[in-house]
Symmetry: C2
Subunit: 218 residues, 2 copies
């Protein structure tokens, strides 16, 4: 069986370093101890027909193993979790709850973070972004408050660390330019716990290493 292959960027702007979604796939691989290969792409390559055959929206990462080609980092992380050990409970009910929290991260938490990033990064000089920011922050603050209450004093969202925590921590990390997570000490500790895992540290280091190579003069 050959090693699964993912795609990642050869270079990205500073605000994206450490946050591109190949980190999620890399982290999952490290958690289950699955060796993998990375195919580095220049930014324009993700918009080509060839890449869109793997990722219809012209994004990355993509994933391929001996049986299937996938896009969507959430689905890729689930695939890695299902083929490996340690990222999903053994029982069906526990797996359903892990899938629930993974989807909650992607559909109930991340869209509100997208809203704030649209305001703070991609449209920061637009008049609408200045006017929109307070309500975007308020909606996100409420959602994070609910998440903080749901987490309570627990270490992870539902028992042991699962692929859902991996995705939720990765989603919350996108708020590093704000104090919104820090407003909830248990949520801040949760993100810190995720980031302290050796598998995350290895994944992040490998993700950053690709950019460092680029920095070496030709």
């Amino acid at each position: 069986m050959s090693a699964p292959v993912i795609t990642a960027f050869r270079q990205v702007p500073g605000f994206a370093k450490g946050l591109v979604r190949d980190v999620r796939a890399r982290w999952a691989f490290e958690e289950v101890g699955q060796p993998y290969e990375v195919r580095l792409l220049e930014h324009p390559e993700i918009k080509t027909q060839e890449h869109r055959a793997l990722q219809p929206f012209g994004q990355l990462p993509t994933y391929s193993d001996d049986e299937v080609e996938l896009f969507e980092s959430g689905a890729i992380a689930l695939r890695i979790a299902e083929r490996g050990e340690g990222l999903l409970p053994a029982d069906e009910a526990g797996r359903a709850r892990a899938t629930q929290w993974l989807i909650a991260a992607l559909n109930s938490v991340e869209p509100m973070i997208f809203d704030l990033i649209a305001v703070d990064v991609f449209n920061k000089d637009e008049e609408w972004a200045k006017l929109r920011r307070p309500s975007a922050v308020e909606a996100l603050r409420t959602r994070l408050g609910d998440l903080s209450k749901a987490l309570g004093g627990s270490e992870w969202l539902d028992g042991d660390f699962t692929v859902a925590d991996l995705i939720m921590v990765a989603v919350l990390r996108q708020l590093r330019h704000t104090d919104l997570v820090a407003e909830h000490p248990n949520l801040a500790a949760y993100v810190a716990r995720g980031e302290a895992r050796p598998a995350f540290q290895k994944a992040l280091a490998d993700h950053m290493a690709a950019f460092a190579e680029e920095a070496v003069p030709a």
Copy 2:
């Protein structure tokens, strides 16, 4: 084994009728032929501590069966698909691709639809909403164009109808107040094909029937 139970609203504003996410769960139940029960809630009830124990964000639907309680309509639909027949391929690779498309609907398509609904419904009188609308429409138009190309001439996203098509069609239906889906005839036909399924028609009728009861004078 007792029938699974979901929650739904006793009444909602006109713009939400037919779109509340209990439709997604009802549709999945009908597709697999699983009888279910509905617990109707008044709107304020979803913000109570009691409901938040089932749904931390104070939303609905919730789902419970003999083994597990869940929130997130995407996870609920997957659970129903996994316990029943007809919404997921038999092979692992096909199931992974169905999960991928379900997550694409929820994380790559729906967040852009949320953006437009924020502009057109929830903040329609705000100055920022008027200024934001063109770029929100443009981003969504690009995404729908990509989705249209990925669908091509196929009937469903990946072979037979799956829970991913169910969620994708439900996501796209939220654009019924616009012509954005109609700009892509294959996407419009895809949504129409989904809505024409007897299981969807039954689910929608049952969803609407709850509101009709409310209209009867006491």
